[in-house]
Symmetry: C2
Subunit: 422 residues, 2 copies
């Protein structure tokens, strides 16, 4: 009997009614003949409430103690979900991350899973029981409680699916969320956007990095590494969502599977500095130490001087300016300029690797629409253009249409940006 891992996010277990509905999804899968392992996040806003409570006691709470506190959120929700399953007559048992055998490197607040001891899960499955595992947490070899950081519950689910070899049995990891799946573009911005039935790990990774919050990049990476098929689907709807898996023949035919918009970006540009060895390391280490997430980085040379520009989200712009100014003062050279009100439109697709002309088609479409391009960055499977914020939505629609994505088109493959979800 194939095993599937079903993961329910915070909104899917936010109150007793939703917990009961989640339980009925699990029971349905059980009745359909699957062995099921359940992973759940903390109920609704619990995690935020706990952080707020901690900050009322300590402005910068100790990470170890914060982990002790945060881990209670998932422990409570799995206990309740197990009760709901038992109430339906299913034999279920809640497990903390540690009890489920999830061992981490012991780094508080952002632990990495080092191994999973599957013994207890396998014994429960062989007895026909449903393990309900607290997401986002594990214990170190010393028995310390650790949380996995952002995207932690998705990572728990995919890691358990990998450890239990669900793919080899014909199973998968189902991520239940509050969106239908991955779309060709954010359907709130592009009316013709359509849901993608399939997408590759690489494409999903690029899209996640571009702000598509359907799944956290870290969990997708885990899925890619162990080849775990990940099915992203709506927790309240019976329809299939989007299957994330290794690229296949039909995928390779598509140059571009989706496009994305990230807005509210600012750009810091540095000119007139000598390209000394270590300059970049010094600059970006200072930014990283201040927890500033740097988006794209572009560097060009003009004679002896160099130009470095990078984008950050608006809220980080003030701090980024200060750090760059301090670094330039220490160097005793260079000029800084700052722009606000930018956005980034990107196209993504593994097929891009083997298809020429994707970049030119994108640039031409934006040019024909009268949209100026400030910066360009590319990866193996992605092309991004920095444009004015005011033209963001129109740029997204233009690109979506230029690659024949969307409704009524055979090349319908997709993504959705939902920055409200982590």
């Amino acid at each position: 009997m194939p095993t599937i891992v079903q993961k329910f996010g915070g909104t899917s277990v936010s109150d007793p009614d939703r917990i009961r509905r989640a339980a009925s999804r699990v029971a349905d899968a059980r009745e359909a003949g699957f062995d099921v392992v359940v992973v759940a996040s903390a109920m609704g806003r619990t995690t935020d409430d706990l952080i707020e409570l901690a900050e009322r006691i300590s402005p910068v709470p100790d990470r170890r103690e914060l982990d002790m506190l945060m881990a209670t959120g998932e422990q409570a929700s799995v206990a309740l979900l197990a009760m709901a399953l038992r109430e339906r007559g299913c034999s279920a048992g809640a497990l903390t991350g540690g009890q489920a055998g999830i061992r981490t490197d012991g780094v508080h607040g952002r632990a990495r899973i080092t191994r999973i001891e599957c013994g207890r899960l396998e014994r429960m499955l062989s007895r026909g029981e449903i393990p309900v595992v607290a997401g986002f947490q594990g214990t170190s070899e010393e028995g310390e409680l650790t949380t996995l950081g952002r995207g932690g519950s998705d990572t728990t689910a995919v890691a358990l699916a990998a450890a239990l070899r669900v793919r080899e049995q014909g199973g998968c990891c189902e991520i239940f969320t509050d969106v239908d799946g991955v779309y060709t573009a954010d359907p709130r911005l592009v009316r013709h956007a359509v849901k993608l039935p399939r997408i590759s790990y690489e494409e999903m990774l690029e899209l996640a990095a571009l702000g598509a919050g359907v799944m956290h990049a870290r969990a997708v990476l885990f899925g890619e590494k162990y080849g775990v098929p990940i099915h992203v689907r709506h927790s309240q709807k019976p329809d299939s969502g989007t299957m994330i898996s290794r690229e296949n023949a039909s995928m390779e035919e598509l140059a571009v599977v989706g496009c994305a918009l990230k807005d509210e970006l600012g750009r810091v540009s540095i000119r007139q500095v000598r390209n000394a060895v270590g300059l970049q390391g010094r600059l970006f280490t200072a930014l990283a130490h201040s927890n500033i997430v740097v988006d794209d980085i572009v560097q060009t040379e003009q004679g002896a001087a160099t130009m470095i520009a990078f984008t950050v989200e608006h809220p980080d712009l003030g701090d980024a300016k200060q750090i760059v100014a301090r670094t330039l003062a220490e160097l005793g050279e260079g000029e800084m300029s700052v722009e606000v009100g930018l956005a980034k439109v990107s196209v993504v697709g593994v097929g891009m690797k083997s298809h020429a002309g994707v970049a030119s088609r994108m640039f031409r479409a934006l040019g024909d629409a009268g949209i100026g391009i400030h910066n360009i960055t590319t990866s193996e499977i992605k092309i991004s253009c920095i444009i004015d914020h005011a033209e963001g939505q129109r740029a997204l629609e233009t690109v979506h249409s230029a690659f024949g994505l969307g409704l009524g088109n055979s090349a319908t493959v997709a993504m959705q940006i939902d920055s409200s979800r982590i």
Copy 2:
């Protein structure tokens, strides 16, 4: 350096301000030169809120899952208390019951502590750290989370004090609560009641059984078994409270240390049944299975027939009647009568064992005050009289005065009833 265990109840850690105040009590003890182990209950109404949430999902939640849920309450409060201690510059670390080495028999919802592995606590103390241990919980040998049931956090504190041999070092177990200590009678009912500086375990046990909620009987029993001095004191006041310890010379001179009133009692009387072997077992097993707490039981014989009467609290009276009626129907004989509106006044003192005339003095005082006695029950160190509820407070004052307890009297020893605390 002597070790003390400090236990903070739910009201003492109910919000960030109170958590900070609890932390300052701990820091004071640390500065006074003690090694400190802290035990805390769940914040304020957390435990009740969690039970309510569980019951919205399952009317009778599975005990194992309920333990998983309940254990989060104490885990959250110790994490926050450890943060508050670190914020004050104390080196502190929160521990779950399992991490603190508390092993139980694995019976969910009412586990018993089987042993305590002190290694981790001792290592922390030797490094000058303050372990902050989640009360009310432990893990079984299989790693299952179990809660200790009513009075659990007090029991955790006393058990840790026993395991760490605090008495041998000149330390004790401090129970911080929202009352000043143990009084000669409930000061809300008897104006002249005074706080007892000392009381014996046995006296405290009788008083706890009589409804004096200052400490749970179970924790006192643990203290008695291992000779742990227990200091019950107010969490917001610097004054000493009441020290519970083995009886000493000065204690033995006192016939009666305190008196108590338990009201809202009902009585079920059964007449005209033959005293067959097993009758009592059958009856009280049925009551116990329905979780009805039977207070006093009296049995007398009249020829071939027997009379059994027992008291229960008013809320349990309806169920108790049904169960007795069913049992009598099965027996095919007997009559039942039920009275409501009763109360029980009791005097307690270890000195009673060696002092004659305590009973007669109590009965005479009640008689002189015109208070009728419906039933009498006695133990080695306690005499209780069932009286009319309406005369409860007057009876308590009468007895308090008859034994010379209270203000202005040298025999000042005491107790307090506070049924709002568990």
